[in-house]
Amino acid sequence: ITGERYRWSHTIPYVLDDSLEMNAKGVILDAFERYHLKTCIEFKPWAGEANYISVFKGSGCWSYVGNRHVGKQEISIGTNCDRIATVQHEFLHALGFWHEQSRSDRDDYVSIIWDRINSGKEHNFNTYNDQESDSLNVPYDYTSVMHYSKTAFQNGTEPTIVTKIPEFMDVIGQRLDFSDYDILKLNRLYNCSSSLSFMDSCNFELENVCGMIQSSADSADWQRVSQVPGGPENDYSNMGQCKGSGFFMHFDSSSVNVGATALLESRILYPKRGFQCLQFYLYNSGNEQDQLNIYIREYSAGNVNGTLTLVEEIKEIPIGSWKLYHVTLKVTNKFRVVFGGIRGSGSSSGGLSIDDVNLSETQCPHHVWHIKNFTQFIGSPNVNLYSPPFYSSKGYAFQIQLTLNNSTNVGIYFHLISGANDDQLQWPCPWQQATMTLLDQNSDIRQRMSNQRSITTDPSMISDNGNYFWDRPSKVGALAVFTNGTQFRRGVGFGTSAFITHERLQSRDFIKGNDVYILSTVEDISHLNSIQMEPIISSITDDLCTKVSCENDGICTVHNNKAECRCPSGEDWWYMGERCEKRGSTRDTIVIAASSAAAAFALMLIVTLVSVYYTRRKYRKKTSSNTTNMSPENQHAF
């Protein structure tokens, strides 16, 4: 939308309303993380700023366009809107974005089939001229998260939007993640030059290897190569598709003695958040005894050469294939990441190779499900894949199921399964949010459009048979068997049959080198449940607060067994009084101060004038009495 008045500052205050579903709250926070990674827009809890976004559960999914300067500006994330790309879409509206197909040059790229549009809905296909809307010199974007899908507002089954390039027919309306052009536009609109959480990405295509350096305190070096005789035959970024490119870093363990090390150090990095996730692909063509150590060289005022700290030892690296690794870091001072290749015992005809390194200040996924030779499963009837068993940080055992038996859609489901900690856990399982991500394996984390869905365990949810849905799997689950023959119980899967279409799955880099990665994180989000957080306090509060009503969005709290209103306030305004009924502002204070000063001045002026008047009157009387005794000559001389 054209006009600076519609812009927000780079840091946008927000409130997650209590009306939101628990799953939606977690998804919104995940969407904020995507903004933090790819743009300079940051979201922070509202602390009284004049304008802020309030996300609530209204009817449907909607937003206003741009900053309306109304104080509390609403976004609705209603039922079925709790998907990360939907949240990204609605927030892009709030940041000032219209839909992609309403651009002034729309008709150059898509045809609107007017007679297939629901009667009365034609207005949804209006375009804006370049006085109302600015495409910021960015090309028309079929992949935008802001584009309608081909079926939008249709009256039958035929598409209402036909792309002029047929290959994009099923691309429009995809809600995976921000497209490259979405990011370009947003960053241009808000003059972004950096983001909160992105740190570095390196696919070793450039000879400067992203500023990485060879350490002098080791016995071997890493080399930038495009292939190694013992493997890999090509890099992971391009999979050897481009001749003359496709480089990676290789530590040749076959040419050094046992125990030899090669340290490759990243450029100096400056953390902002204090936690990082390092991701990279690793290939072993040496020996299973070879290992990769990940170190941090951290600099402080007292140690200018940095202190080298071992973070993780990666051992038993499988031979003959690229594999994705994640390493969690917690660094607060400036630092380097150090890749340390170590020659193990046993024969080696190759070594260790690394490619597609990404470092961001985000949380690493808790579990990685690596599905090899994926294409063999596509098109086979009755193929449902189950992940290995995983444990959440709270101790719940779970599995992820990928359903491939539908010809159009791929489904994904989360199952609780019987596990070793079940006796110590709370049942039905309360407020665990499972986030399942099909990884787009683009070499640059900023260009990935991964497909993600989250579900949350609601302990009060009842199944059709009357059981608690998220009760202990050994009680409500069905018997199942692992491939090693061990029996266990698996609860009913909870997820979606429409996770992604087969067509989309085979696009981008979801399948790369015939491998697919499903990343999963299961975390406790009960802290987002404001009612459940303080159940005792809230019940007392409820009792005492029933007799007290706070005005102007004030909140009733109990203090020393007495109900009190906590009144809202902003940077330059506040409410006060027992019921928050009075409004104050710095402007009022200025007005009072100015009025007082003016009144004091007026009073002083009156006193002065009165004094002068009486003094002069007295003086005149005196003068006139003197004049009667004076001669005219004297008067003149005077």
């Binding site: 009817s59 449907g60 999914c61 909607w62 937003s63 206003y64 366009v65 309306r68 609403e74 209603g78 039922t79 079925n80 809107c81 939907t86 879409h89 609605e90 509206h93 219209w98 839909h99 309403s102 207005h123 949804n124 209006n126 309608y148 899908s149 079926t151 939008a152 507002f153 309306g173 809600r175 199921q401 359903t403 859609n409 489904g411 489901y413 579900i455 199944s463 059709d464 048979n465 849905f469 409500v476 069905a478 009913v492 899967g493 909870f494 997820g495 979606t496 049959s497 429409a498 279409t501």
Partner: protein
């Protein structure tokens, strides 16, 4: 028998506009609220 899976999407990949249309909302361009009463573009 207990079904193996519970599908939150009921088998349909509903887009934002489908969700809002099913709810009978007549928002501007499907999901945009405008200032004032009228949502639809005049």
């Amino acid at each position: 028998p207990t079904p193996e899976n519970f599908d939150v999407d009921d088998g349909i990949n509903q887009d934002i506009f489908d969700i809002n249309e099913d709810l009978g909302l007549d928002l501007f361009e499907g999901d945009i609220r405008l200032d004032g009463v009228q949502e639809r573009n005049s």
